[in-house]
Symmetry: C2
Subunit: 230 residues, 2 copies
């Protein structure tokens, strides 16, 4: 056993989630215990524990004795995830009292990074930052509990967007982030909440029901089978 510091240990989780947020890992990807163990230079035990944690967070699923896979949400689950985000983000915006200038400052800085990623064509950074905006917002508002919840939920919706081919334009998303921040800056929480709901609704509306990476979609639909199995 060589002395290479694992570099990972408890952060295997984080690296995987970050990869999902960046779109480098998509729904249905296999995450084998042995593969991860080799990759991170740890034993299978550690890799398995990371997968168990991710399973508890609703990011991966295990198919008994077949393997671990990144979740592949059904259209209904996708809708629930978006609804959950709408509810949470609207709720926090309506509940908070005073945004504070440093919150607005952080968000503006974030939006600048979003624009930079979009301009430079860095798709991974773009995906990550567009999702992370919402996490940052909630975190900046002072609630780490909700921020953690939202991070996992965001990972799910990123997976969904790739699965159902969201065609919502990144620039539009970024613009919407900006007007939300503007509303926060002038203390109009109600307006910020409304804008947030419609923003998330817009992203959701950009989804198309057909996922054409599944060659059986047409047949399945014709036979009226649900896509329940892996």
């Amino acid at each position: 056993m060589h002395m290479q510091v694992p570099e990972a240990l408890n952060s295997i989780d984080r690296i995987i989630v970050d990869a999902i947020l960046a779109g480098r890992i998509t729904a249905g990807t296999r995450l084998g215990e042995q593969s991860l163990a080799t990759l991170f230079a740890v034993s299978r035990t550690i890799a398995r524990e990371a997968l168990i944690r991710l399973e508890a967070r609703g990011i991966v699923q295990v198919s008994p004795r077949r393997g671990w896979f990144v979740i592949k949400p059904s259209f209904e689950e996708a809708q629930e995830a978006f609804q959950a985000r709408q509810a949470i983000e609207m709720g926090i915006l309506m509940a908070v009292q005073h945004p504070g200038p440093e919150v607005v400052g952080k968000l503006r800085a974030h939006i600048i990074r979003e624009r930079a990623a979009i301009a430079s064509g860095d798709l991974e950074a773009r995906s990550f930052l567009l999702g992370d905006f919402h996490v940052c917002l909630v975190e900046a508002l002072g609630n780490r509990v909700l921020a953690d919840i939202l991070r996992d939920l965001t990972a799910r919706t990123v997976l969904i967007s790739a699965l159902y081919q969201s065609n919502h334009d990144a620039t539009v998303s970024c613009d919407e982030h900006e007007v939300i921040t503007d509303a926060l800056a002038v203390g109009d929480l109600k307006r910020a909440a409304d804008l947030m709901v419609s923003h998330i609704g817009n992203v959701e509306a950009g989804l198309t029901r057909a996922k054409d990476d599944d060659p059986l979609t047409n047949l399945r639909h014709a036979l009226k089978l649900s896509s329940r199995q892996e």
Copy 2:
């Protein structure tokens, strides 16, 4: 190895969470790997995996090489948990369109069980049902994602209530559940959301900052030390 069916396997998690919701397990309780393994007639591996899942859900914490303990939230974390519940439950109530009569029916049935538990003096059932109302509400509204999130959050707030000696009366809580249900029944979502926010606020307001199972509270406060360490 005897043939006793484990009875537990993946449900060790559920049994522990249920015990927390019922108030049979309180904040700071030690949950040893070996103890759980013996109790559920499984190996340490299984018990450990259950604890890892619960850790990912924010229910327990591990102190390295010392042991696993049910979380003991600080007052600030407690506030965040209550704020999170307010945001989520208000958000879902404002987002839903039409409650539907079967939803109201389920909630009314739940409230009847609450009253029965209160009347019979069954403290465990009372604690469980009062918390479970909120989970049932969200689940009945059709969002399992949020329901799962809320269950864990409810477990946290139950722990908090015991830790900070909530003196909010069970009967009052139950009454509040009823008026919320009434508002839902007539389709007044706005009113239901407002009632929910104030209901959770009432429970939170019932907390007292002093946790007197900690004999150092007074000294700590006098020295202006945070209660950060375990």
